[in-house]
Subunit: 339 residues, 2 copies
């Protein structure tokens, strides 16, 4: 018998329906062949810098006479700083110009070197650059929120296979972020505790959903996982911002955990496509509508979503999810797999 589980932060139920993994084509677990783009035509490869817009930032490697990590504006911009920020009505509808920042961080000069295969030092390098870019964009008071995410593989929305992250700064707090802030604020009002800190405590006490943890970070398959092998990564001590000093101080431990989690995922699923998203507090300077987001009710984290199932009519109609694999079973596999 399956069960429904409620995400403790959002009004979102998940049907854990292990029965459904038996249906025809029900649950995808074979290795995914990620289509690699041709390195000769890859705008992210060294020597092809002229194929991208002028760079925003790069970290040079003096020994190798090239860059280690490079940040550029997204060539196919969804948002642009060149646009004036204008809001207006059109009949009964509301629109605004696509003002904002949309950057691409190229993790490595190596076309096929995915995060899981990079050294801890390489991961630390681009994590630090992501921090710097977030901190820098935060200074622009027109932005309400800065989103960092990674699309890995075609089915996860990546148009180029060369390892990269994206950074998007928006003049509005996105719906999903707002819901999470409201949910954690609601809990804080009730309990005077951070809900994420409580979740960490609950997970450590239950144990069965933990994937891996070290001194500073923990990873687990959340109780109401939307997807098979969904993994959340959180700092163990309360912190609202990814670019906070405490994160800088523990960066080697974050890099270590991220590498291990990605290696485990690959060992169990055979290099799957995935998205992961940094859930960070919104920009605190212009956040008049989020005055309550002080320092106690939010907790930055990463949500990793392997691309194994299909969003269908049920999910679109309800905002709920059907997950054919219990997170306890997924976590056990991930915990025990040899890497």
């Amino acid at each position: 018998m399956g069960e429904l589980r409620k995400d403790p932060i959002l009004e979102r139920w998940v049907i854990i329906a292990s029965e459904r993994s038996k249906r025809p084509g029900g649950f995808f677990k074979a290795p995914r062949i990620t289509e690699k783009t041709d390195p000769d035509k890859c705008p992210f490869c060294p020597g092809h810098e002229s194929m991208t817009p002028p760079e925003i930032f790069s970290l040079r490697d003096p020994k190798a006479n090239t860059w280690k990590t490079r940040v550029i504006p997204n060539k196919y911009l969804a948002l642009s700083l060149d646009n004036p920020f204008v809001k207006k009505g059109k009949g009964m509808y509301d629109m605004m110009t696509n003002f904002g920042a949309h950057e691409v961080l190229i993790e490595t000069p190596f076309h096929e070197k995915e995060a899981k295969d990079q050294s801890k030092e390489e991961i630390i390098t681009w994590l630090s650059v992501l921090q710097q870019r977030t901190e820098d964009l935060t200074k622009d008071q027109r932005f309400r929120h800065i989103l960092i995410f990674k699309n890995k593989g075609k089915s996860a929305g990546a148009s180029l296979s060369h390892p990269h992250h994206q950074i998007m700064a928006t003049p509005i707090t996105p719906k999903r972020v707002r819901e999470e802030l409201n949910g954690s604020f609601h809990y804080y009002k009730m309990k005077e505790r951070c809900i994420f800190c409580d979740i960490i405590n609950q997970e450590q006490s239950d144990g069965e959903r933990i994937v891996y943890e070290n001194e500073a970070y923990i990873s687990f398959c959340p109780y109401a996982s939307r997807f098979p092998y969904e993994i959340w990564i959180l700092p163990k001590t309360h912190e609202i911002d990814f670019y906070a000093k405490s994160v800088k101080d523990t960066m080697p431990l974050l890099a270590e955990l991220l590498k291990i989690v990605l290696q485990k995922l690959s060992a169990v699923l055979g290099d799957p496509d995935y998205n992961y998203i940094f859930h960070n507090s919104p920009n605190r300077i212009p956040r008049r509508d989020y005055w309550h987001t002080v320092k106690e009710d939010y907790h930055w984290h990463i949500e990793l979503l392997p691309k194994l199932t299909t969003i269908a009519g049920f999910e679109w109609g309800t905002g709920f999810f059907i997950n054919p694999l219990a997170p306890e079973d997924a976590a056990k596999e991930l915990r025990e797999v040899k890497i």
Copy 2:
């Protein structure tokens, strides 16, 4: 220059980014080869009735000595009536048993006869059965909401290609439905008018997003379309329920419009995979938490979502969407295509 548009009902912005349709692999418009399942092994084909759980309902065809339309429980149940309805806590988390109904409506005995290729009479037949099932399930006061949806094609989540719909009855009002009810109630409080009636009025006055309309129904690409060629279908006169008498009276016109819309979509996109969802008012009997949903603030409708783009990190992180095609351009193509 692109723009951001806000869905008037939900707190959801969409980036209309025509630029992005130019990126590599950016926007899929080639014909989709929908994998057909083998008719010899199809549990939905006549003669294979023993492969499914015992039927709930069927309409017989006395001339052909078979059924016209058949309703069965979903074999791979996400929800089941056999389970007791129990809610309980587990540490800090909340769960409930997967009590509910999950039915499959097999539209036609013909394995490959998609809705667009069916006669108006055939479409009327299964639309009427969908109405009857909804009305019947509504009588069970344990249910808060009844969802009807169709997944067409593998990329839209269909595991069998034989044309079918699904019906799911849940003891809770889903998150997405709740948001829509809240949004339309909020508008009603402000204006004392139904927001959907106002949208129809706005669309008729603008004209540029209309796909097709007849005396009783209208179809258009919504102002803040999440996806290329997204289409909404609404009754022109205010009605909250799909199973209301006014819908029964105008069923031939709904069938006509649905057939034309699906034919147009196929003519423009080459038989694409899609989901469509009936957005119906929740069950009014046990809706104490929705006492305000009387008769004036909600309007039933269908949302049709062709499966052409990928949900990626940006969408997961923000709840916003990036749509590479302006709905005005999509509607023009759909309006003008020969069928």
